[in-house]
Symmetry: C2
Subunit: 335 residues, 2 copies
């Protein structure tokens, strides 16, 4: 039987050293948002804003800014806005998943119940979209709004198609592009826009973010299958329990023996949780995860191609380094 | 014992006859929004958009536009945007209240569960705020975003302070100004802005909307107490069950005998539903409802003052008529 092979340390950090000072300012700015809320609401927002996060979206916006003419306050601001939208979606995700902890601390719904948490997510959403008006650019407001709508729709399709045997790989990619890719793409694309890049360069860099987000989600989906809960610091195997058909599972359904596939399909159609022990027992399990990992590597190669439009700089190298870091994370999921 | 005195017919319509053609276009436009969503999401949004509503916010925007130079497509659009935000809040409200029906039809949460409904509300929110960028006015985007944030925060404070004996009338007014007044004020204020009125006139008309929304909420709160469920067509007495301290209840706590007040306070502090039979048995019940009604009338008088800045026109008269219509609704709640 295949083993659970990957247990990343929570201390495994994204290679954001180059922009650590800017990320510090982002942290300060995220916490400064608290005072924009009604005093009665502040403590709740403060709790949510004080939870840590990897801040991948702000880091990407800052690195793109640095790579193409210099980081401005606007790059930090778009990072903060996108991170607030991300935080709002996490608050609502945790309600839907009934999650009790995230990043080792109790979730908003665990602390205050679902009703209040629905509203806290809404307030964060509204605030983030209002904050986008500070740019005095309708174009950016529209891009932020669209990205936000994409994230919600991606989540809707995912939720609606749990335990759906007709869910295809093409559906999978569409969903993760919407739910994870869209905000990554907004970070890199809008950052390029703020730096005055041409439309085609902005599009290219938005594409970089989109693919990077997609790989990150593929990694997350593999991790849910192969990770160790104690070490990752969040509830795992929820995809299997909730009937989310992720890339490794879809690969498995493609390649498993007739008998195994029919066993899995039966569980899915009965809306029963997928059994990890059963999955680990399928001979094709390892190659299903490996194939997902290889898909991630292909996308990362395309990401590196996208970065070729940037001239060499510490930031350009850091962006490349992120693709290699993600490649390393993917490799650690290899059975 | 006092009786339940008011049972409005669902057919009791706001006096919107003058703008019925424009409201028809608003209905069409609301349904046109459906196609802006992903095909997989469309059917859900369609269900929500096909539920009827009084469309008070669009009607107000259209009437203001008509009263000050003519209704434009922009007045219709701001009406649609604010109605979509209102619809998003209703979807989330129904989740929080565990409501099974609204306007005689099953709620989104009753049909598809809470998880999907959280996301549907989010998608509607995001879409509405994105649609606001069509105006190419940062000022309007900001106003729409701020109104949206106010609504969410009003709901948060209300939720958080259920069964809270320290909740004052001033807290009550702040909450209903946020959760109901803000969108009414946005409708009338932004409509004035779109018509090119001066800042001070815009503010005056936003104030009109704010007070009108406040009265509408006071009416709704009285109705929850005195209405008949079969006739109103929605679950009533939920405020009492959920421990929402509304104006008539706060009045009652002010004026009830020491013994009665202590009985009510005890229930509130124990987070037990307030018992309608007990409330109806309190001698001061009638005057508590009457006092709330009188507060509404005072605000409606101020609304009429605000309208005095408009020159006479069919629309100005219709806006005045709305204040008298609300006065009539309030009167019907009188025990």
């Amino acid at each position: 039987m295949a083993q659970l092979t990957y247990s990343p340390q929570p201390t495994e950090l994204f290679p954001f050293d180059l922009v650590r000072p800017e990320l510090e300012r982002v942290e300060i700015s995220i916490r400064e948002q608290i005072r924009h809320f009604d005093p009665a609401v502040e403590p709740y927002i403060a709790y949510i804003c004080n939870t840590s996060g990897k801040r991948i979206r702000p880091a990407l916006a800052i690195l793109i800014g640095g790579a193409v003419g210099g980081v401005t306050d606007d790059h930090l601001k778009i990072g903060v806005i996108l991170e607030l939208i991300h935080m709002a979606t996490l608050v609502h995700d945790d309600i839907m998943d009934g999650a009790n902890t995230r990043r080792m601390v109790p979730t908003a719904n665990a602390k205050w119940g679902n009703a209040l948490s629905v509203l806290l997510g809404d307030a964060l959403f509204s605030h983030a979209l209002t904050l986008a008006t500070d740019f005095n650019s309708i174009d950016i407001c529209r891009k932020v709004g669209n990205a936000s709508r994409e994230v919600c729709q991606g989540e809707i399709i995912q939720t609606q198609r749990r335990f759906d045997i007709t869910f295809t790989k093409s559906d999978y990619f569409r969903v993760i592009e919407m739910k994870t890719g869209a905000l990554f793409a907004a970070a890199t694309g809008i950052a390029a826009n703020l730096s005055g890049l041409s439309n085609s360069d902005e599009e290219r860099l938005a594409g970089f973010g989109m693919k990077l987000g997609t790989v990150y989600q593929i990694y997350d989906d593999c991790l849910d299958l192969v990770g160790s809960e104690e070490v990752v610091g969040k509830t795992l195997r929820t995809d299997l329990i909730k009937g989310k058909l992720t890339l490794p599972i879809l690969n498995l359904l493609d390649t498993a023996s007739e008998e195994q596939r029919s066993k899995l399909n039966k569980r899915i159609m009965a809306q029963e949780p997928l059994d990890l022990a059963v999955i680990l027992g399928i001979t094709e399990y390892e190659s299903a995860v490996e194939s997902a990992i290889n898909t991630g590597h292909d996308l990362l190669n395309q990401c590196r191609d996208d970065l070729s439009i940037l001239s060499d700089s510490p930031q350009t190298r850091a962006l490349n380094q992120i693709t290699w870091f993600l490649a390393g994370l993917l490799e650690k999921c290899r059975p």
